[in-house]
Symmetry: C3
């Protein structure tokens, strides 16, 4: 049980300072596990670029609102500050903002629901981490995923918050679509696999995201690039649906899995690299499965496949030592 110490003088002061902007930027960076405000800035630039390029600038502003709301919620609830100031209150909220305005019409009611849902992720993260902490794993982006699933589905019953680009519900059928495999096209799919982490469909945004990652952690950048490439290779070999491949749909969860397993939660070494590689490949199958499972509901998977695949590889609780250490055992 946590005794909450809500907003006090000190934290109120912080809210009106340059510090708060850095907290927000770290919240953006934490979507890909980077506690770095410069990384978060590049992510935000990428989001704004991509949103306006696609003609939906509102997505970027919604990302900001979600980020600020979920971060403020942490201060208002008086949750332990260390986590929040490392950006761990903000990363679910920024994704809620992206998801809401990607799939719903930006009415007044949608904005209100967005604010409620972003705030919700802050304590749902505490809830889920309480649950999963028993097995020493984190809830990752699952607070964003689960709460957005609920609100996106609710939108189908709520005419004041109508959906726009939610896929229309139908029964799963086979898909056989041609896909262009020239080098420029492949590069585009590869970069979109990275930009789709924030639901942005733009290869330029993918470059901004990569730069942001390399600023913070070389291995995070390498794994994002590698995971998007490997997932692209796997889904092309297994002949997945062309349109989804072109839009980077098989990349974003794999990118997060790659960074999580390859560069974040394990020591970087050959053994953990192999583990990360297998995890990335498995993520492609989880993504394909969840795409199909959600078709009758017309619901996007969001980063659910990343969460599930990464749990499957972290819950065994394996430890990968360096070879050197092993010989001294």
């Amino acid at each position: 049980m946590t005794t909450l110490n809500a907003l006090n003088a000190e934290s109120t002061k912080k809210l009106f300072s340059f510090d708060f902007i850095k907290v927000l930027l770290r919240g953006s960076g934490q979507v890909m596990f980077q506690n770095n405000s410069w990384t978060g800035l590049f992510f935000l630039i990428g989001i704004f670029w991509g949103a306006y390029e696609e003609g939906f600038g509102v997505v970027a502003w919604a990302a900001l609102v979600g980020l600020a709301t979920s971060t403020l919620t942490g201060y208002i609830l008086g949750l332990p500050k260390k986590e929040g100031e490392d950006g761990l209150w903000g990363f679910n909220g920024i994704l809620v903002g992206c998801a809401f305005m990607t799939f719903l019409e930006p009415t007044l009611w949608t904005w209100l629901a967005l604010i409620l849902c972003s705030a919700l992720t802050t304590w749902v993260r505490v809830a889920f981490n309480n649950v999963m902490g028993i097995w020493k794993v984190s809830s990752f982006t699952f607070p964003f995923v689960a709460m957005s699933w609920l609100f996106l589905m609710a939108s189908r019953e709520m005419n004041a918050m109508p959906d726009t680009f939610l896929p229309s519900p139908h029964l799963p059928t086979g898909i056989n679509e041609e896909i262009s495999l020239t080098i420029p096209h492949l590069t585009e799919y590869w970069l979109k696999g990275i930009s789709q982490v924030f639901l942005i469909n733009s290869w330029v945004t993918g470059i901004f995201f990569l730069i942001g990652l390399f600023i913070s952690n070389k291995w995070a950048g390498i794994w994002a690039a590698l995971a998007s490439a490997v997932s692209l290779l796997v889904i092309i070999l297994f002949r997945g649906p062309g349109t989804e491949i072109e839009n980077g749909i098989f990349g974003f969860s794999a990118v997060l899995t790659g960074i999580a397993i390859g560069a974040t939660f394990y020591e970087v070494n050959y053994r953990s690299a192999l583990w990360g590689l297998i995890a990335v490949i498995v993520t492609v199958f989880v993504q394909a499965a969840m795409n199909i499972i959600f078709i009758p509901l017309g619901l996007p998977t969001l980063t659910g496949p990343f969460c599930i695949a990464t749990w499957l590889f972290m819950l065994p609780g394996f430890v990968f030592h360096k070879e050197k250490e092993k010989t001294t055992e």
Copy 2:
């Protein structure tokens, strides 16, 4: 591990006494968290009134059978008596009875399945509480919800237990229905939101339930009334489907969430009241989402949305102290 001490002389004696009737009535009351046999009696009167008003008196008798079966099962299994005699064996069973005869044809086989399913909830409650106890939350009505989902779905494969009023499976589509918003109509929807806790669609029943609550605990009554009103306001503002609003479909889970958070598991104070209010609002979105998610199966949500929403607000493990206490810290 629990060593079971099944039926012995003492408990057999109790079964044929006035005490047993009080145990049953408390089982009815515990559906809304009230360990009070008078409350339970008013709930039962409400159920009988509503069932006969709708022309399905069998629902009320099934409620009694479910209540008695699940309570007897506790004695037969020899579970620790304290819980059972507070009504905690009965509340899932009475709901199973209501659900079975609301959605299925009352054949001999349906009655047998009802008895099996009611009995099942008694040990499934032990199972679920073992699971969830780790995080210091209860399984609420989820034993009823989960087991009824299974048996209701099974009915589609079992011609000896055919369904009658289960919604027919289809793909989710947008719904835009007009709704009358006169004061008398709104009052009716508001009271039906309360009566639907037991799957009864009658405003008179809603009044009986409110009386039962106020007899036991003023705050429980206030929160039931408030939660039904707030959920009605939210779903009207977000322009939900008219027929469902008229039948109180957005009320019953919100009512249970309100009583749970606002008047049962937290100290009653301004902070917990605010927490309860947000929980009630979130319940409306969870209800809408689950309505949609279950459409392809033609499955009713039962009180699933209440369980999920309440877990989301209790699993963080927050504690809300009174202001006074806080200043002395």
Copy 3:
């Protein structure tokens, strides 16, 4: 956290020995909880017989590949050897092999996915047991079930791994099919209920499986026979769909539940026998429900209903003493 000791000289030697064959056979036997290589041999003979009888010999070879892959994975990961050599690495893998080639076309890519999925079950079993171990229950065949669900669903998006006999997705509707109830036919359905544990539809295979069980443990054989008979009786009385009954679809999960509750995890006595009997009956309802729930996805339940039903009866943590012991308490 487990420090892994991967393949070393000793275990490499074991891989090229007669011991390894015994380990594989025990992996086959453990599908029905029998740590006995002769039992496993009879199961394999039954699989080969049934697969070739049905004209799909590839299923049997895939079973062998899955069994070997998941067992080897345990050695390669360096997991604690005792479990693996009791056959606990192999039982999920052999079922993955059966499921893949029952529902998918045996292309090169399907074989590669089969190998990945079988290997995956070995560490997913560690993951799931870490999760469920908290409540002192095992993950049973759920690693096979969950991972096969993912890969089978993924196949609908992957044209290089096309499905063949996956049911086609549709909305659930009532089914009313006649069924022949002569003694020879009933015997056939009863034996197929046992053979379907490995997704084999052959009464001869059912006999091989029964022999295998009786070799290892009389009670396991009795419970398999009893559970298939009881589940058949229940689904006929509740008038389930004829085609599914004829193919033993309501038997296989009940058989596993019966062996688990009646002959494996509890002391064999009258009380646990009654518990097992109720569990078998409940399994029929869980099976029927899951058949319906998965119809919109065209997904087979695999042995999911067994896992769910058995958890419902083991999670309460009841202990059943013999009558004699009870009187001395």
